[in-house]
């Protein structure tokens, strides 16, 4: 079981949330090339260590938030604060 620290609802089981994916800046649609879009869509950093990721609190506050987690231990670090900006791949 993975307890995800939702900034509004507190720690909740991961099954209450939806994992959206790695958080990162979306390319600017006015200037992005096709290759940049495809890379944004498909290519992953997939680090073994700290990962910035977006979660959607599906069964709770229904807000997106960005959290940081160590993918080798599954421990969340720097718990997100309410009002954190929505990250990347939503």
């Amino acid at each position: 079981m993975l307890l995800v620290p939702c900034p509004n609802c507190g720690p909740r089981n991961a099954s209450d949330l939806r994992y959206v994916g790695e958080a990162g800046p979306r390319p600017d649609p006015n200037t992005a090339t096709e290759a940049e879009w495809r890379s944004y869509l498909y290519i992953e950093d997939n680090p073994a260590g700290l990962l910035r990721e977006t979660w959607y609190c599906r069964a709770g506050c229904r807000r997106y938030f960005v959290a940081e987690r160590d993918t080798t231990s599954n421990e969340f670090v720097n718990s997100p604060l309410p009002g954190n900006k929505i990250g990347g791949k939503a």
Binding site: A14, E22, Y42, I43, E44, D45, T71, N74
Partner: protein, 454 residues
């Protein structure tokens, strides 16, 4: 032997002469294990020979394969057997078959959804069929049939679609009704009262199970017999690349010169990434980014009972697949966990959900006890197809992204990767799975047949 040594890759560096104790040639098979041999050795108290040699690590090889699982070993075996390239080292950071090759649920089948996928996996099934003879080792292939249950109209429609794609390519695959399901596997609840009633199934008689450890050992033994070296506890720390456009000369346009391991540097003009779970970490070392996220898949096994389940049973809707081993244990597998992680700790939540789903299918086994559970890492790609062949870095090849279907593809991947390496041309069967498909948008969507369906 000198004849063999001259058969190495033409374009690549000098071979290290002498000092290599290969004990066979590319035609003969490794010796057969026999009851008579066992008796003689036992009577004379002779030591049992090692399955593969343990030799000192050389400073250079023609080909270095990272990852000593079924894919890496099969690639090495076919390089030596089909192409006479024997100056090959297979490196593994732990022991051979310690990753996905020893953690999968050992199910093989070829009833995929896309024509590319079907052709590819069918070749693998063909190789599995003759493997015991080819490798002179009993891999215990049990062609017991494979049944994918449909619980919804949508699922039934996909089954129909798969069956037609399969039939066009001469694969024995058909949609059957609940009565036939009951006949094949009497322990299944096919009544209308089930929470997820069984509406039909895709039945694939050539599917079955195999002993996965034997496959790993068989390939290791066969490769060793032809002079390939296996190095365990040899972790690749970096891949040496020159002339690329990225940091330290890595990345696109670069050329591989070797690998750095915890046992020293090795120079090699060709490095093949055959890892699962750590595929992106290895590729990052060469400056190649992959469309892969790492997720764990959990599996479990029960105590052994008398044989009652004659086929492999899969339910996509219930996220479960079940087969009974020759010893009588039921092996359960599930779907991948829904978030990226390299952590393979199991969870009670999984066990609870799995047990619940299995009981919905087979209410009769409610008193059975689980023996143990484990998990392995799966490299998931966006289209549920692998990433194979050349990369933007010259000399760096990938055979990765095998998600939850890597074991059944082991032999054909090895064979096709070996052909790709030996000829310098992407082999026809793996052409659809090239890395550049993500840049051009030519994805090979296998989600309908690969997700959970084992």
């Amino acid at each position: 032997m000198s004849f063999l040594r001259s058969l190495s890759l033409n374009s690549v560096g000098q071979r290290v002469a002498g000092s290599r104790g290969a004990n066979g040639d590319s035609q003969s098979k490794p010796p057969r294990y026999s009851a008579g041999g066992l008796f003689v050795k036992g009577a004379r108290n002779q030591p049992w020979p090692r399955v593969w040699r343990e030799v000192p690590l050389q400073k250079s090889y023609d080909v270095v394969i990272v990852g000593g699982g079924v894919h890496g070993l099969a690639c090495a075996y076919y390089l030596a057997t089909n192409h006479g390239i024997t100056n090959v080292a297979v490196l593994d950071k732990a022991y051979l078959g310690s990753g996905g090759s020893g953690r999968n649920t050992a199910i093989v089948r070829s009833n995929y959804l896309t024509p590319e996928g079907v052709a590819f996996y069918d070749r693998s099934l063909t190789l599995y069929n003759t493997m015991s003879v080819d490798l002179n080792l009993n891999v215990m292939f049990s062609e017991r049939g494979h049944m994918t249950l449909a619980h919804t109209d949508g699922a039934l429609r996909t089954m129909r679609w798969r069956a037609e794609v399969n039939k066009l390519q001469d694969i024995d695959s058909s949609v059957i009704d609940p009565q036939e399901v009951k006949k094949l596997a009497p322990s299944l609840d096919v009544s209308d009262h089930a929470r997820y009633p069984i509406l039909g199934a895709l039945y694939h008689p050539p599917g079955g199970t195999i002993r996965h450890d034997a496959v790993v050992w068989g390939y290791a033994r066969g490769a060793d017999h032809r002079g390939v070296e296996m190095h365990q506890k040899t972790e690749v720390l970096d891949i040496l690349v020159e002339g690329g456009e990225g940091r330290d000369g890595k990345g696109a346009g670069g050329k591989v010169t070797g690998v750095r391991t915890n046992r020293g540097d090795i120079s090699a003009p060709i490095v093949v990434n055959c890892t699962a779970g750590w595929a992106t970490l290895i590729s990052d070392m060469a400056g190649v980014k992959l469309p892969i996220s790492t997720r764990p898949l959990q599996a479990a096994v029960t105590e052994p009972v008398k044989v009652f389940l004659p086929t492999v049973v899969v339910s996509g809707s219930l996220h479960v697949y079940v087969s009974q081993t020759d010893r009588g244990e039921l092996v359960f597998g599930a779907s991948v966990d829904p978030f990226n992680t390299y952590n393979i700790r199991g969870s009670l939540e999984f066990t609870e959900e799995l047990a619940g789903h299995v009981l919905e299918l087979m209410p009769g086994i409610s008193r059975m006890r689980l023996l143990r559970q484990w998990s392995g890492l799966c490299d998931m790609t966006p289209d549920y197809s692998p990433v194979m062949g050349f990369t933007p870095v010259d000399g760096f090849l990938c055979d990765v992204g095998w998600g939850t279907y890597g074991f059944k593809a082991g032999p054909v991947s090895g064979e096709q990767m070996a052909e790709t390496i030996a000829t310098g041309q992407t082999a026809k069967l793996i052409e659809p799975f090239k890395l550049s498909r993500f840049a051009t948008g030519e994805l090979v969507g296998e989600k309908g047949a690969a997700a959970v369906g084992h």
